[in-house]
């Protein structure tokens, strides 16, 4: 938990487009970092690179001295367990119950047979229930995940991330599909984990006020590059206008993009 994440000149090319362009970053343990930027700025790609769901074209990512980009096989799966990921669309298995969905977070520890038979130990079930309890979802534990509301599903995803016993938590637009009340619950959950467990949290956001309210540090991306890196106070209106670009947006109105109004930034 006391290791920092380092990205050194990381680039990712998709055919001709450069989604992430020569990004270098250093994220200290225990930070709550928000990444903002327009759609297509490379925020998602950057998180996927860290979790190794995709491989970088160039550059290296390391965590506490371990070269992440070189990992293969079991070591790679263990890294994915250590660096839990939360998705915009929750990515739960709708037809499985909530408890099993949370236990998926334990799969990296399982052998082939126990995993195929969906056999989990009592200790693991206890762990899953504790995680669900923290997020107030014990009553739903035996319900099928698909029957839950979006906010509940996202909290199940957080519980699943917790039982991975991660060292760092990534969240890719975790509240983009949620209403304001649920968005607050999910963000509060992430903050609680950050403060109580001392977990590093790296979260992509599309709403500025959320980033301002929750993040110790805000990183802004534009066209694959880091455009701004600082505290919420340093994020002035001029900087914001540069990040999102005024073209097409008559005047940047923070209130419109806020989750409180539940309207997303117009897609460019």
């Amino acid at each position: 938990m006391s290791a920092s994440l380092t990205l050194a000149s990381v680039s990712k090319l998709f055919d001709e487009t450069c989604a992430v362009d020569n990004v270098s970053l250093e994220i200290s343990p225990g930070q709550f970092v928000g990444v903002i930027g327009r759609s297509g700025a490379g925020k998602s790609t950057m998180l996927r690179l860290v979790n190794r769901l995709i491989d970088p074209t160039e550059g290296a990512i390391s965590f506490g001295g371990t070269e992440i980009t070189a990992l293969r096989g079991k070591a790679l799966r263990e890294w994915r367990r250590d660096c839990a990921m939360i998705f915009q669309q929750f990515n739960l298995v709708d037809r499985l119950d909530v408890l099993t969905n949370v236990l998926i977070g334990r799969l990296a520890e399982h052998g082939f047979l126990s995993s195929m038979a969906m056999q989990f130990t009592d200790a693991e079930r206890t762990m899953a229930l504790q995680a669900l309890d923290r997020l107030g979802l014990v009553p739903q534990a035996l319900q099928r995940a698909g029957t839950l509301s979006g906010g509940q599903q996202q909290r199940v995803a957080i519980a699943k991330a917790l039982v991975q016993r991660p060292k760092i938590m990534l969240a890719d637009e975790p509240i983009a599909s949620l209403d304001p009340a649920n968005a607050t619950l999910v963000m509060d959950g992430l903050r609680q984990i950050n403060r109580e467990d001392g977990l590093t949290v790296l979260v992509n956001l599309h709403t500025l006020d959320t980033a301002r309210a929750y993040c110790d540090r805000i990183i802004a991306m534009r066209a694959g590059r880091i455009f701004f890196d600082g505290t919420a106070a340093q994020l002035t209106d001029d900087v914001v206008r540069d990040i999102y670009g005024t073209q097409g947006l008559r005047e940047f109105n923070e209130a419109v993009t806020s989750t409180q109004g539940s309207i997303a930034v117009p897609a460019q």
């Binding site: 799966r77 839990a84 998705f87 990515n91 739960l92 099993t100 977070g105 990296a108 995993s115």
Partner: protein, 312 residues
């Protein structure tokens, strides 16, 4: 907003432009239909000619003289003749005895019927196992690499393009006459057919749950087991029941080449010209297939409606 490209002539009013485009579209559609119809007609006529549908044959009249006739009206009455031969003699006053004579081999047939259904059952079980296992590497979105995809797809193709009857001939040669050859033949063909159907189901799943499992450190097998299998289960059960129906029909005929089941009785009845046996066998198979189709359809609808029930 500026128009794309610099207009050199005054553009038409939108409505006029629409009229023009619409007329053009209709013209093209009409021509396409005409061409397609002509191609279809030509292909159909050629096939009919190849298939001897225009053949003229000699036909014996009532008075013994012979005359040239078109084959269809000449041959059709023989169908009635054949069906008439399979009718048993049933008299009201001795109905029981007549029925007993019609189904005179009922003990043998009952045993063979059970054998037929068991062949279908075991073949379906084998086919489900093989098809299910191969449907994941044979799905474009799930295959771990293109070699595995290529090999599993080719295997499934070979298994299903060779008809059951041909597999049965081969297996009878290998394992001698009996139900075992039938089970293997139908099982192999079912593997190919089910594997194809299952893999198409797999190709239509939502990939996000699999990504969720992968991001938590799951292996390829974990992604399949937790992300894919729960999604495809209702469809798999439904296709399996459908295949069981098909396999029951297949196992009734497979005995024709000595691979067990009722089929061998068909062959015997035909070669010994016991035409009433044919109708008796037909009735037995018809009723069996109907009962199994009905039962499995009921079951399938329950499975499809099972959306709220516990997941697999």
């Amino acid at each position: 907003m500026t128009a794309i490209g610099e207009p050199t002539v005054t553009p038409l009013r939108p409505l006029d432009q629409f009229e023009l485009d619409y007329a053009g579209l209709r013209r093209r559609t009409k021509t396409m239909w005409l061409v397609a119809s002509l191609i279809f007609l030509a292909a159909f006529t050629f096939s009919a000619w190849l298939g001897d549908f225009f053949k003229v044959t000699q036909f014996t009249l009532q008075d013994g003289s012979r005359e040239w006739r078109w084959i269809l009206p000449a041959g059709l009455p023989r169908l009635g003749e054949f069906i008439e031969k399979t009718f048993p003699v049933l008299r009201w006053e001795s109905l029981g005895a007549d029925l007993a004579e019609w189904f005179w081999r009922w003990r043998v047939w009952a045993n063979l019927l059970i054998e037929t259904i068991l062949i279908a059952f075991m073949a379906t079980a084998l086919g489900v196992f093989g098809g299910f296992m191969l449907s994941f590497p044979a799905a474009r979105n799930l295959a771990p690499n293109k070699w595995v995809l290529w090999i599993s797809r080719r295997y499934l193709e070979i298994a299903r393009t060779v008809p059951e009857l041909v597999w049965a001939l081969i297996f009878v040669f290998c394992f001698s006459v009996g139900p075992m050859a039938g089970v293997l033949a139908i099982g192999l063909h079912a593997t190919g057919a089910l594997g194809k159907l299952y893999s198409e189901v797999n190709e239509n799943i939502d990939m996000r749950p699999l990504e969720g499992v992968k991001a938590a450190g799951g292996t390829w097998f974990d992604q399949i087991r937790y992300g894919a299998v729960p999604q495809v289960m209702p469809n798999i059960i439904s296709y399996t029941l459908l295949r069981f129906e098909i396999n029951v029909r297949a196992s009734t005929i497979i005995g024709y080449v000595g691979a067990g089941g009722l089929g061998q009785e068909f062959r015997e009845a035909l070669s010994l010209q016991e035409y009433t046996d044919l109708s008796a066998l037909f009735i037995i198979i018809f009723v069996t297939v109907m009962v199994i189709d009905y039962g499995s359809e009921k079951l399938r609808h329950r499975v499809i409606g099972m959306e709220k029930g516990p997941a697999a």
